[in-house]
């Protein structure tokens, strides 16, 4: 039967449980997004309100889609934008090119650029697709700005860069659970996060129950 066994395998699958998680549950609410989802970027700020970006262009260098454009400038001595010597004078991300690989987030030495959970955004002009610094930098409450063409849902702007806090620097297990990042405006120094798969399942099960 050697050659024909495969047909039995595929036929049996017809009666097995599906492993796909639906995007919405019935006609109900959208499913909660994984905490480590790669969405639209934000530029973070320190607790004192200064920007984290130092204009080093590492993100632009590492970007495989070449969608990031950065130009640094010296901080004005009387009103510094960032704590260091230089700051990101121009910062642009072209979302027509971005593939949300998060290499920029990994490359950033100051955790300036991280990703939110937002992916439901669409624009009708190319100009809208190119996010400038004005749109990327977090507001005074430390949360990403909500632009008119973006469909934000509860909690998507809270979990920025969760994966960075769940894994350890350079992938070394020694650092797991140890805080190795700076504080953020509106949040302070965030706690380390555990792996997410387990929690996601719980959250979804609760939601499904509520819906039925």
């Amino acid at each position: 039967m050697g050659y024909l066994e495969g047909f039995g395998v595929t036929f049996k699958k017809l009666f097995e449980e599906r492993v796909t998680d639906p995007y919405t549950i019935g006609k109900g609410p959208k499913a909660p997004k994984p905490e480590r989802q790669h969405g639209r970027h934000v530029l973070n700020r320190y607790e004192d309100g200064t920007e984290k970006c130092i204009g080093c262009e590492l993100c632009a260098g590492v970007c495989p889609a070449r969608c990031i454009y950065v130009r640094g400038a010296d901080n004005p001595p009387d009103a510094p934008v960032s704590p260091g010597e230089r700051y990101g004078y121009v910062y642009e991300i072209n979302y027509l090119r971005c593939i949300h690989c998060d290499l920029c987030v990994e490359a950033c030495p100051t955790e300036a650029i991280t990703e939110t959970k937002l992916f439901e955004f669409s624009f009708t002009s190319r100009a809208d697709a190119i996010y400038t610094k004005d749109e990327l930098v977090v507001g005074d409450d430390g949360k990403p700005q909500h632009l008119p063409w973006e469909d934000w849902r509860d909690g998507e702007d809270v979990h920025t860069s969760a994966w960075m806090r769940a894994t350890s620097p350079s992938g070394s297990a020694v650092f797991e659970g140890i805080v190795a990042w700076s504080g953020e405006l509106g949040y302070g120094v965030r706690h380390p996060e555990q792996g997410q798969a387990h929690e996601d399942r719980h959250e979804r099960a609760a939601m499904e129950e509520e819906h039925h």
Binding site: G6, T10, K13, L14, E16, E17, R18, V19, T20, P22
Partner: protein, 406 residues
């Protein structure tokens, strides 16, 4: 062997109307069936891979194909700069039109139960429930599937782009290779039913079979082997998995239709699935007795429809099952299977069938006729082997020592 009984009393308005209605119904039926087939394939293959499949548009996602079609209509028509524009525009229709025409010769239903002659009565006119019943019958199907090769070949050639060209070169070689095996399998059915006309074939198959309870279907009359050959060759002819080298995404981007967009692409896509349906219908007609089957209560043509679609469904399911299960053939495996396995097998089996046929006609004992045929076959294949060996040796001898030997 009269043609369509439509013409026995001359052609008047009602006859013309019946023909027009048949054309429209066939057209609409095929379009809707294709739409449902695309959905069915995506849904079923999703199930076979532990996925959900389309579930957004309409109940169970059944309108998904319609949504895709509407989307494709509004997409940009793109033509590469170096494309041959006239052929580029023509090619999708060369694929699409034969797919429609192929279905014209399939008897969909009719009164085949209890000695019926396969006709139905509409408004006092007697007619077959099929678009056309040409005397060349099944040859028309082979002809149309050959024309469909041009659609694929010209699409790749006229694109002015290398991957489509590679895809179309593969397609033409593959389809030409398997047409031979397919034709030989069909000859087997023609031999045992004694006719080329599809309606007559179904009539023969509707008759009483061996032992009184076994159906007199082509698959049994030809002893299964031609059926297996026809299914394999038919799958290759359709360019469906595991013979989808034409559209091998991993190697050829999208295959012959890479440069096509918008509704022209949709035509190729629809033609492929429509061909799947029509080819399944041909399988049913040739080997499973078409709409023939018992009709316990009610009009026989309703039962004909039921049987026809049940049998059709078996093959549609089979095609999707193939796709879900089998990995794609390598090109040399494809050619090996076509030329070295299927064609000799089909030829040999045809010889045996013919021997059996003549032996029973002439009253010769089968126990002697079949072994003689086997001996003849063995001798012939031995001679061919010797001949090809000699030819190879001669060619090798011509090469100087150290020359390129393949």
């Amino acid at each position: 062997m009269g043609g369509d009984p439509l013409f026995s009393n001359g052609v008047d308005l009602a006859v013309v109307l019946i023909v027009i209605v048949k054309v429209v119904v066939t057209f609409v039926f095929l379009l809707i069936a294709t739409m449902l087939m695309v959905w069915f394939e995506r849904k079923l293959i999703g199930d076979m891979q532990n996925r959900i499949g389309p579930n957004r548009a309409g109940p169970w996602g059944i309108m998904q194909t319609l949504a895709d079609g509407i989307k494709l209509f509004f997409k940009e028509h793109f033509m590469p700069e170096r494309a041959h524009s006239a052929v580029f525009v023509l090619a999708p229709f060369l694929s699409f039109v034969p797919a429609f025409l192929l279905f014209a010769i399939v008897p969909v239903t009719g009164n085949f139960a209890d000695g019926g002659n396969g006709t139905v009565e509409i408004f006092g006119y007697t007619t077959y429930v099929q678009l056309a019943d040409p005397p060349i019958g099944i040859l028309f199907a082979l002809a149309m599937s050959s024309v469909a090769v041009y659609g694929v070949m010209l699409a790749g050639w006229s694109s002015g782009s290398k991957y489509p060209l590679l895809g179309s070169v593969r397609a033409s070689a593959q389809m030409c290779s398997y047409e031979a095996a397919m034709g030989l399998a069909v000859v087997g059915v023609v031999l045992v039913t004694g006719t080329l006309e599809t309606t007559q074939m179904v009539l023969v198959q509707a008759g009483p079979g061996p032992f009184g309870w076994v159906p007199n279907w082509g698959i049994i009359l030809t002893a299964v082997i031609p059926f297996v050959i026809f299914v394999i060759a038919g799958t290759a002819e359709l360019n469906r998995p595991p013979f989808d080298l034409v559209e091998a995404e991993q190697e050829l981007v999208g295959g012959f239709n890479t440069e096509y967009s918008s509704i022209r692409f949709a035509l190729f896509f629809l033609a492929e699935f429509m061909n799947t349906i029509t080819m399944s219908a041909i399988f049913v007609t040739l080997f499973l007795g078409g709409p023939a089957g018992p009709a316990p209560i009610g009009p026989a043509w309703v039962w004909g429809l039921v049987w026809f679609f049940l049998k059709l469904f078996v093959f549609l399911f089979m095609f999707v099952w193939f796709r879900a299960t089998l990995p794609r053939f390598r090109y040399d495996q494809l050619m090996h299977l076509g030329w070295r396995v299927l064609i000799p097998l089909a030829l040999g089996w045809l010889l045996l069938l013919a021997t059996g046929h003549i032996a029973s006609d002439q009253g010769w004992p089968l126990g002697i006729a079949i072994p003689i045929a086997l001996v003849v076959m063995a001798a012939a294949s031995g001679l061919i082997r010797v001949a090809s060996r000699r030819a190879l040796e001669a060619r090798l001898a011509e090469l100087e020592p150290g020359g390129v030997v393949l």
